[in-house]
Amino acid sequence: MPGFCDTARLMKPIVKLLLEGGSLGAAQMAQVLNLSEAEVNRQLDELKKQHVLLGFRPVLNIADEDSGVVRAVIEVRITPERGGGFNRLAERISRFDEVESCYLMSGGYDLLVFVNGASLQRVAAFVSEKLSTIEGVLSTATHFMLRSYKENGFLLEGKAEENERLKVTP
C-alpha cells in the first residue's frame, strides 16, 4: 500500500492532466497515466476528499439574451468581526444559491460577489432583500453584466477554428 508521500506524488500528474487534458474520461486518463481506471477514480475521489478537486461543471455559452440568465457583480462592504475578520459574513453570503462566486478583495470594498438570477428583478430583489439586510453589510454596489467575451478560458465569439496544420510536414 503506498504511503502518504507516494500518494502525494501520484496526485500531481492527475491534477496536471485534469488541467490540460480537456475532456478526457477516466478510461482515457488511465491510458495516459499508465494506471488502471479504478486507480484513476480512486485518485479523483481522494482529491475530492482532500477538497482539492471541488467538482466538474460544463462551461456553457449563456451569453445570448434568450438564455434567461442575468448576471451581476456586486461590490460589498462589510464590517469585520473580532476573532473572525471577514470570514463569517463572507461564508454566510456565499451560501445563497444566487451567489456563483465570492472573493475577499483588497481596495475600496471587501467582497466581490458574482450573482446569477432569472431576471433583473430577481437579482435586484436578492440584493435589496437578502444581501443588504444582513447585519454587518455596510453597502453594496451592483453592476449588471452586459455581455460576456470569455468564460473560464473559453472565448465566446468565433467558433472553434479548424486546425489548419498541413497533414504531413517535415
Binding site: L24, Q31, V32, R165, K167, V168, P170
Partner: protein
C-alpha cells in the same frame, strides 16, 4: 517544347523529398489522425501574436537592417548569453533570417566551395543534404543508432570522416529521432571538430524542448565559439512556424559572409515577425515552458504505448518526435506507413524520408492532443497485431 531540359543538372539530380510523396497520399484521405506533422499543435501564444498586431498598428511595414532590427539582435544576444552561455555582439555577430532553413542555406552558400565535404548526422532533417548539394558540396552522412538513443558519437564521426571535410552540421535535439547529446558527448564532438579543423553549423531549433538534462550548446564549449555558427529560431519553442523567423550567431567574418548572401536574396526578415520575436524572447519563456511540459507528458505516453505495442522505441530526450522501430512487423517502413494509413487512417512518416539510415523506423510527432494520441496508439496497436498474426 520540353522545358525540363533547361533545368540545372544539380537540381534535376536532387531527389524529391520522401515526405512529399507521403503527403500526396495523406492529403487525399479524410479522417486521418496525423502524427506526421512537424510543428507544434499550439497556436502562437497570444501576447506574441498581439505584438505582431501592434507592430502593424504602429506602421511597422518597412524594411529593417539586413542584419535584422537592432532590438531583436540585442534580445537574441541576451537570450543566447542567459540560456546557452555564449555571448554574441548584436552589432556584427548576429543575423536574423527567414527561419533556420534560410540560415542553414545561406551558411552553406557562404562557406562551401564546390567539392567541399560536409558531415551531418543521419537520420536528419530533410533539407540538410539538399542544402549541401545545391551549393555543389558533397554530403558525408554520419549514422546515428537506436542503441545510442540516436546521440551522435565521436566513433561514428571518426569512421565517416574523410579528407576534404570542412563543415559539420549538428541538429541536437534531432528531427526526426529526438536524439541529443549530453555535455560529455558534446565536448567530445567539439574536440573532434578542433582536431579535424571543422566549422560547426549547429541547428538548435529544438533545444528548449529538452526533457532530460540541460541542453548544452556546442558554441559554449571553450574554443568552439570561433568555429561554430549557432542557428536557432522561434518556430518550435514558441510555436511560431508560420512566422518564418530565425537567426544565426557566429564569428563576425562568417556572419558578414552570410549577410552578403542574405542581403542579395532575402534582404531582411519580415519586420512583423521580428517584432513578435522580440516579445517571444523577452516574455515568452512561461508559455514555452507550459508547452514543453505538455510535450513531455505526451512523449512519456506515446513512447510507452509504442513499446507496449511491440514497436521498440527509445526515449527521445528532446523535440516532439518519437522514432519507433517498425521492423518487427516484417514490413519496411514505407509499406508499414502506407498500410497503417490505408487500414487505420493514421499517418506516420517513413524514417527513410530522413535519409537511408532511417530505414526500419517511422517518425511520430506527439505534438497533438491526448485524444488523438490515445486513438492513434490504439489503431496502431490493432494494425500491428493484424500484421504480426499474418506473419
Amino acid at each position: 517544347m520540353d522545358s525540363s531540359r533547361y533545368i540545372a543538372r544539380h537540381v534535376i539530380n536532387l531527389p524529391k523529398s520522401g515526405i512529399r510523396d507521403f503527403f500526396e497520399i495523406v492529403a487525399k484521405m479524410k479522417d486521418v489522425i496525423s502524427l506526421g506533422i512537424g510543428e507544434p499543435d499550439f497556436d502562437t501564444p497570444w501576447h506574441i501574436r498581439e505584438a505582431g498586431i501592434y507592430a502593424l498598428e504602429k506602421g511597422k511595414t518597412h524594411y529593417t537592417s539586413n542584419l535584422g532590427s537592432i532590438e531583436l539582435r540585442r534580445a537574441i544576444s541576451k537570450y543566447a548569453e542567459k540560456y546557452y552561455s555564449v555571448s554574441y555582439q548584436p552589432e556584427n555577430e548576429i543575423l536574423v533570417t527567414v527561419g533556420v532553413s534560410e540560415a542553414l542555406d545561406i551558411a552553406c552558400r557562404a562557406l562551401i566551395n564546390p567539392g567541399d565535404k560536409v558531415m551531418f548526422h543521419q537520420p536528419c532533417y530533410v533539407s540538410y543534404h539538399p542544402s549541401v548539394t545545391l551549393t555543389h558540396g558533397i554530403g558525408v552522412p554520419v549514422p546515428t543508432f537506436a542503441k545510442d538513443n540516436f546521440a551522435l558519437t565521436v566513433g561514428a564521426l571518426r569512421a565517416a570522416w574523410q579528407p576534404g571535410c570542412k563543415l559539420l552540421m549538428l541538429n541536437l535535439p534531432c528531427n526526426p529521432t529526438g536524439g541529443t547529446c549530453d555535455r560529455v558527448q558534446i565536448e567530445a564532438i567539439a574536440k573532434f571538430a578542433v582536431e579535424k579543423d571543422l566549422i560547426v553549423l549547429s541547428d538548435e531549433i529544438y533545444s528548449e524542448l529538452t526533457f532530460e538534462d540541460v541542453h548544452t550548446s556546442i558554441a559554449s564549449i571553450p574554443g568552439m565559439k570561433e568555429r561554430t555558427i549557432f542557428l536557432h529560431g522561434f518556430s518550435k519553442a514558441f510555436a511560431m512556424t508560420g512566422w518564418r523567423i530565425g537567426y544565426a550567431c557566429g564569428p563576425a567574418p562568417l556572419i558578414e559572409a552570410m549577410m552578403k548572401v542574405h542581403q542579395y536574396s532575402m534582404l531582411c526578415a519580415s519586420i512583423i515577425s521580428q517584432e513578435a520575436a522580440v516579445e517571444a524572447l523577452l516574455r515568452g519563456r512561461d508559455a514555452m515552458k507550459k508547452m514543453r511540459d505538455q510535450y513531455h507528458r505526451r512523449r512519456d505516453f506515446i513512447v510507452r504505448r509504442f513499446n507496449e505495442i511491440g514497436l521498440k522505441c527509445h526515449l527521445p530526450r528532446g523535440s516532439f518526435y518519437a522514432f519507433p522501430d517498425v521492423s518487427v512487423t516484417g514490413l519496411n517502413e514505407k509499406d508499414f506507413a502506407v498500410g497503417l494509413l490505408q487500414a487505420e487512417h493514421v499517418a506516420m512518416v517513413p524514417g527513410s524520408a530522413f535519409g537511408a539510415n532511417g530505414s526500419g523506423f517511422c517518425r511520430a510527432c506527439f505534438a497533438t492532443s491526448y485524444e488523438h494520441l490515445i486513438e492513434a496508439s490504439n489503431r496502431i496497436e490493432r494494425h500491428v497485431q493484424s500484421l504480426v498474426k499474418k506473419s
